[in-house]
């Protein structure tokens, strides 16, 4: 599983970084940088919920 952000959708709300501080940090313009792309299976539900909470629906959790 991996985390993918569509940069054309993201408007830098920063919700993802609050919910997923282990996976995402924000750059100086408040846009997300994926710090850890591989998702551990135990976090899969949390990541899917975070993806749903993104105001722009810019986050996907992709099954490899």
């Amino acid at each position: 599983m991996r985390l993918v952000i569509d940069p054309t959708r993201c408007h830098g709300h920063g919700t993802c970084a609050e919910l997923l501080d282990e996976y995402i940090r924000l750059d100086k313009w408040h846009y997300p940088i994926i710090a850890k792309q591989k998702v551990s299976v135990s976090h899969a539900d949390l990541l899917r919920r975070a993806a749903q909470l993104c105001p722009e629906l810019a986050i996907s959790v992709v099954d490899d």
Binding site: V4, P7, T8, C10, G12, W29, H30, Y31, V62
Partner: protein, 455 residues
């Protein structure tokens, strides 16, 4: 398929160039390897009529199979002429083998969004039949149900329309090509922007986890390539891969159209045959005192001509790759002693920052910062800070856009401070080697930026 399935190809006479028969302005170098095709004027030209086109190139080959064609194109090693230089046979194979319930789609990109490039428009205005031949052949091989030509220039648009009418009147039955108008803007020619525009959306890049070869226009496997690439396909499938390679080994050994501009006496579009040296190109374009060449267009890389042996190497992609250069979008920008290449690059960077689609945060916010840093270096206002800012901002922008735009700008910037490290050092002490004014020779007409113009 096209006309009859006859395999008797009329033997064409004269040089088999893309630009064969375009005007009479040909004046090839003694070696014939650097052929002047046209100046940069936009006046209407004579379109080659179908009969003349067939007399020059012969009829389209019939009875081609996909496997045969892939072999031929692979042996020819034709690479895309739009910028990325991807092997065409791989693209064709990817679309042909894509698992999809939808029929493949063929798109020829003639939008020529590279501001200094004129070669695609010229090709479409002078011989639209060659491009239509290529589209027709590829669409036939893929069993495509729709084909599109994406074009910006109005005259090119009407030339293609007239050519399609002529083909219908002559009883050629082939897939009808839909012409879609490309809007202005640097990013409008990006692959995903083209697909989005043809689907009646905005001409803006789109993020996708799928390649367009498997899921492009409305989810269909999509073959998108530059119009010049299609013209080469039409030639290779007539005359063969051996003819295309002219006995050469390694890399793409075909001819290519180049727009050559900047500090040259004869700016224009040239058809270049491999083997010509850079020195030959500079002589033919009448560059009086060239100092550097920007290879490939605005997303390109610099060659500093003061480095030894640089003018001698052959102009083919294998030799260029050794210098980490490529033909890119088919533009060579020559800088002489009058202007400073760092100032030129800063002006281009500012222009490109303004051309961001503004969809992705790192590009929207990062490119203006990169541009400001380049201006500080170019104008010697604060070189130290400019270099520091480049080092800190570039990692925040690189690989973080939805399209190649930010990475293309970064490539130019990196190449500039790398190739002209000595010049940058000079700027630190407030000096510059440019003998003339701080204006740019490489900006598109009408572009207004402050870095190049205001110094």
């Amino acid at each position: 398929m096209i006309e009859s399935v006859s395999v008797s190809i009329m033997a064409p006479t004269g040089p088999r160039r893309l630009s064969q028969g375009w005007e009479s302005a040909h004046r090839p170098a003694p070696s014939g390897r650097v052929a002047f095709v046209s100046d940069l004027s936009t006046r209407p030209r004579l379109v080659m009529p179908l009969a003349e086109h067939v007399a020059a190139y012969g009829r389209l080959p019939g009875g081609l199979t996909l496997g045969m064609t892939l072999d031929t194109l692979r042996a020819a090693n034709l690479t895309g002429r739009g910028g990325a230089g991807f092997p065409f046979w791989k693209k064709l194979q990817a679309v042909a083998t894509a698992e999809s319930r939808k029929s493949p789609v063929v798109i020829a990109n003639g939008s020529e969004s590279e501001p200094l490039s004129k070669k695609d428009t010229l090709l479409l205005k002078n011989n639209p039949h060659l491009v239509l031949d290529g589209i027709s052949l590829v669409a036939g091989l893929l069993g495509a149900k729709s084909a599109y030509l994406y074009v910006k220039d109005r005259e090119a648009h009407s030339a293609v329309n007239a050519a399609m009418r002529e083909r219908r009147e002559r009883g050629i039955t082939e897939l009808r090509v839909t012409i879609v108008e490309a809007p202005a803007g640097y990013v409008s020619g990006q692959e995903t922007a083209v697909v989005r525009r043809i689907a009646k959306g905005p001409a803006l890049p789109q993020f996708s986890m799928d390649r367009i070869a498997s899921s492009g226009l409305r989810g269909a496997p999509t073959l998108l390539s530059n119009v010049e690439t299609f013209a080469h396909v039409a030639m290779i499938l007539r005359f063969g891969s051996e003819w295309y390679r002219q006995g050469g080994q390694g890399g793409d050994r075909g001819t290519r159209l180049l727009t050559i501009i900047g500090a040259v006496g004869r700016p224009g579009v040239y058809e270049l045959s491999p083997g010509a040296s850079l020195a030959e190109v500079l002589r033919e374009t009448e560059a009086p005192d060239p100092r550097a060449v920007l290879f490939g267009g605005y997303f390109g890389r610099w060659l500093d001509l003061s480095a030894p042996h640089t003018a001698k190497f052959p102009m083919d992609d294998a030799a260029l790759a050794e210098h980490r250069l490529s033909f890119g979008a088919g533009v060579l920008g020559v800088v002489g002693r009058e202007t400073c290449p760092v100032v030129e690059a800063a002006a281009i960077t500012e222009y490109l920052a303004g051309q961001s689609a503004g969809q992705c945060g790192p590009c929207l916010h990062g490119l203006p910062e990169i541009s400001t840093a380049m201006a500080r270096i170019a104008l010697s206002s604060d070189v130290e800070r400019g270099m520091h800012d480049l080092r800190s901002v570039i990692p925040l922008v690189e690989h973080r856009g939805g399209c190649q735009h930010p990475d293309g700008v970064i490539q130019l910037v990196r190449s500039t401070v790398g190739a002209f490290a000595e010049e940058v050092k000079l700027h630190r002490s407030g000096r510059c080697t440019a003998q003339g004014s701080h204006t740019s020779m490489l900006l598109p007409p009408g572009a207004s930026v402050s870095a190049g113009g205001a110094a």
